[in-house]
Amino acid sequence: MQRFRIEHIGYLTVNIGDTAKSFEMLGYKAGRTVDDDTQQTRICFLHKEGEVNIELVEPYESNRTMQKMLVKQGVSPYHTCYEVDDIDEAYKLMMDSGWTALFEPVASPAFNNRRICYFWKRDVGLIELVNK
């Protein structure tokens, strides 16, 4: 039985430094910022003991889709990430359950090359899966 454990909430941001600074007041500490050339984003995780992590995602200038999302919705949460034990099994389960995959699992530099994938469903929006 596949278990889905919430890992983080992803925020789209114009500037990781500025947003991380604002989250400091809420008790979060920023980790290192990683460039993900595949996704064309810079990523930084914010941590707070006992709480769900926050992922700040700053799109490259060349990432026109996410830049447009920023223009339309501003800095805002846009996906929830769940950790799974077996991402290949979870991928199949999601596909069989009517979710639309944005792409098949790929290694993510922001997760020390753990594999991730994204899904969309009309009633939920975007979610990310990350392999344990």
Binding site: R64, T65, M66, K68, M69, M95, G98, W99, T100, A101, L102, F103, Y118, W120, K121, R122, L126
Partner: protein, 80 residues
């Protein structure tokens, strides 16, 4: 709605969602032909198409399209 009218509506949707100055969609147009058409903007296109045409696609339909022509066929089927 005729196939031509569906293409014209789709053209407007692509320009709006992908923020293009202009586009001339045809049945063979695919994501390889439009730089702004990536996996995330594909979802944004789906949301806009469903809203404009008042239809809903299944995930299987969304993922099997290889080009705009197949997308138009799905829309035609839904509008029957």
């Amino acid at each position: 709605m005729t196939r031509q009218e569906i293409f014209e509506q789709l053209n407007d949707i692509f320009i709006d969602v992908l923020d293009l100055e202009e586009v001339e969609l045809n049945a063979e147009t695919s994501a390889n032909d439009i730089e702004e058409w990536d996996s995330l903007s594909h979802i944004q296109l789906i949301v806009a198409i469903e809203k404009v045409f008042g239809i809903k696609f299944t995930s299987l339909e969304i993922m099997k399209w290889k080009n705009v022509g197949e997308m138009v066929c799905s829309i035609e089927e839904k509008l029957k």
